[in-house]
């Protein structure tokens, strides 16, 4: 082999190198992995998962709170309904016979149903207002109303309700419930009305 022949591959290689060099306009493209983007994506994904988890937890908490509120509300509503029922028992009017102020049996039964409620709710005060029908003298009827209120009060006080918790007043025939001139109307108008004046937003059931 001659020196030229031995040198030929080298030249060729050089040419090749030169050619390669000549053919390369820019460095080869960078690898397709962008680590910052990956990091961001990962963080976003983690955040998303965390947010989902937190939202779920918050929703669970909210639901728990709401359930608790609902339960409390339901309980309160039940108590309120109870209280309303108790108030309506306390407020139930009693009726009287014509020109009379003594308590009839139905009036006593009515008052008997009020007594345990009044005893269970010691901060409740009431006002008893006596009324009359239109047939008597209107001036005398003011006194009659006062006596009708006093009759109910006396009954309650004798059965343990503190005297100071019951106020009495009279409206005579001046505030009729019913304005027709017949016995059905008059009998409704001869009444004691009971109004809770203090301590009554939530009445407790007697135990």
């Amino acid at each position: 082999m001659t020196a030229t022949t031995r040198a030929f591959p080298v030249v060729l290689a050089l040419f090749a190198l030169a050619a390669v060099d000549a053919c390369r306009p820019a460095p080869p493209p960078a690898p397709a992995v962008d680590t910052a983007a990956i990091r961001r994506a990962r963080e976003d994904s983690i955040r998303e998962v965390n947010q989902r988890n937190e939202a779920a937890a918050a929703e669970a908490r909210r639901r728990a709170v709401q359930d608790s509120i609902d339960r409390a509300r339901a309980a309160e509503e039940a108590m309120r309904r109870d209280s309303e029922m108790l108030r309506s028992v306390v407020a139930m009017a009693i009726n009287f016979d014509l020109d009379k102020s003594d308590l009839r049996d139905d009036a006593r039964a009515n008052l008997d149903s009020k007594i345990p409620i009044l005893l269970a709710n010691a901060n409740v005060t009431i006002r008893v207002a006596g009324h009359a029908d239109e047939r008597g003298s209107s001036e005398y009827n003011l006194a009659l109303g006062q006596r009708r209120a006093a009759a109910a009060k006396r009954y309650l006080v004798e059965r343990g309700v503190a005297e100071s918790r019951i106020e009495t007043t009279s409206f005579g025939e001046e505030r009729p419930l019913c304005t027709e001139s017949n016995e059905s109307c008059w009998s409704q108008n001869r009444r004691d009305e009971f109004e809770i004046t203090a301590g009554g937003p939530m009445l407790m059931r007697p135990r």
Binding site: G136, L142, T169
Partner: protein, 455 residues
């Protein structure tokens, strides 16, 4: 100032008038004046007989307010039920007699054509002339063909105002007194309730006004001076309220827990107030002095019964009131100190035993009250002497009678027209008139005679 120029105290025959006219005047009973007339004076020679009404004619009244004066006076005379108003349809010229009156004749009284008035049925002729501060009023007695009374009345300004109207009513009352010897009641007002508000209306139905209220009210009553109204409120904090009509100021008493103040009335001396305090142990009558110096004094011991609606005798010595001490409401009379209580309505009215709302007459002789008959109240009077009840109403339901200051008329509430209204009844003739026009008017209290304020 009033000046009396002429006053008759002696009477004469019907001589100047023909016998024909005498027949027309037969209603006029002519009697000699008695000595007792010399102080207070029946000014004209007619003995008043409730069964007849002397005719009175008013000459046309000149001046801006003349027609109003005439209208008010004629209505007052009519409402007095003591006089019959003769309406003059005749030409003015015929009213005067042939001989012309001399200018400035006594009191300006012109010579009237008396025979003509006699023919028209007028026993008296009223001749009114406006003067500087009011009215000059001359009353002619037709039977004697001369002026019987002359007086000047002051009228407050403004003309046609409230006080002016009172003063004109005062003229009417004076004229009624000249003719009948008994003063009229036109110059008075009636307090009553509508919608639980105290209202006041003139006796002729004019000028209704509402008082400002301290609560839902019932039972107004008058101080003897006519210047204070007492009433009670009811419901919680029931009070007695004194309303001064001159100043508009109020004073309130009471408001004790568990009580209702009922039916306040003044004592006739005007110094105290009687009322019923309704408690949980019945309702008793109390009297308290208005100066507030002493504690209220209890005058009934009802032992749980109800004692309400006090009404004093005019001398203040006795009290009529309503009590259910016997088991049902009746009217009782007791001494003012609470002793000697006696059942007044001890009379068999039937089985519905309910008597209420007594009111003692101004002459002291009788008490009016209401009785339940066939489940409706009717008005009665009963004299203290013979205690014979007299039923005055039967139509509708009639309640809460109150005497006029003339002791002859009664105001009460009645449902006879379909709604509850105030009506005035002449207890002697039975004549009725409706006072109010709005339904729901009730619990009336007639004032004493009111004196118009002088300017």
């Amino acid at each position: 100032m009033r000046s009396r120029i002429l006053r008759l105290s002696r009477l004469s025959r019907i001589s100047r008038i023909s016998r024909l006219l005498a027949a027309l005047l037969a209603v006029v009973v002519v009697v000699p004046a008695s000595a007792q007339d010399s102080t207070r004076g029946v000014r004209i020679g007619l003995r008043y007989d409730p069964a007849t009404k002397p005719g009175i004619a008013l000459l046309p009244i000149p001046g801006f307010a003349g027609d109003s004066v005439q209208t008010i006076l004629e209505r007052d005379f009519d409402f007095s039920n003591r006089l019959a108003v003769v309406t003059l349809m005749t030409a003015e010229g015929l009213l005067l007699a042939g001989d012309r009156p001399s200018a400035g004749a006594a009191g300006g009284a012109a010579r009237l054509n008396y025979p003509l008035f006699a023919k028209l049925g007028a026993a008296a002729v009223l001749q009114i002339t406006p003067i500087k501060d009011g009215l000059h009023v001359a009353l002619h007695e037709v039977g004697r063909a001369q002026v019987a009374s002359v007086e000047e009345f002051r009228l407050p300004t403004p003309e046609l105002g409230k006080e002016w109207r009172y003063a004109v009513h005062g003229v009417a009352d004076a004229v009624v007194e000249w003719i009948t010897g008994q003063r009229g009641m036109a110059q008075s007002r009636i307090a009553f309730i509508r919608g639980n508000v105290v209202r006041i209306i003139d006796s002729d139905g004019h000028g209704e006004e509402a008082l400002p209220m301290l609560g839902a009210a019932l039972s107004p009553s008058w101080h003897p001076s006519g210047s204070i109204i007492a009433y009670n409120t009811f419901g919680p904090e029931s009070r007695i309220v004194l309303h001064d009509l001159r100043t508009g100021r109020t004073r309130d008493l009471g408001a004790q827990r568990n009580t209702t103040n009922v039916t306040p009335v003044f004592t006739p001396d005007g110094k105290s107030l009687a009322y019923s305090l309704s408690t949980e142990n019945g309702a008793d009558l109390y009297v308290m002095t208005l100066d507030g110096e002493a504690f209220p004094r209890r005058v009934t011991v009802g032992r749980g019964s109800m004692n309400v609606q006090p009404s004093f005798s005019p001398d203040g010595n006795r009290v009529a009131f309503m009590s259910d001490r016997s088991g049902h409401p009746e009217v009782y009379i007791m001494d003012a100190d609470g002793t000697n209580a006696d059942l007044f309505t001890a009379f068999d009215f039937g089985d519905q035993n309910y008597r209420a709302s007594p009111d003692w007459s101004p002459d002291g002789r009788q008490v009016t009250f209401q009785t339940r008959i066939d489940w409706r109240f009717q008005i009665f009077t009963m004299s203290l002497r013979d205690r014979q009840p007299r039923q005055l109403t039967s139509e509708g339901e009639n309640e809460d009678p109150s005497w006029a200051p003339d002791g002859r008329h009664i105001v009460f509430s009645s449902t006879r027209s379909g709604t509850r209204q105030l009506w005035i009844l002449d207890t002697e003739s039975g004549r009725l008139r409706q006072l109010t026009q709005a339904g729901g008017s009730r619990v009336p209290a007639w004032s004493p005679r009111l004196i118009a304020k002088e300017r």
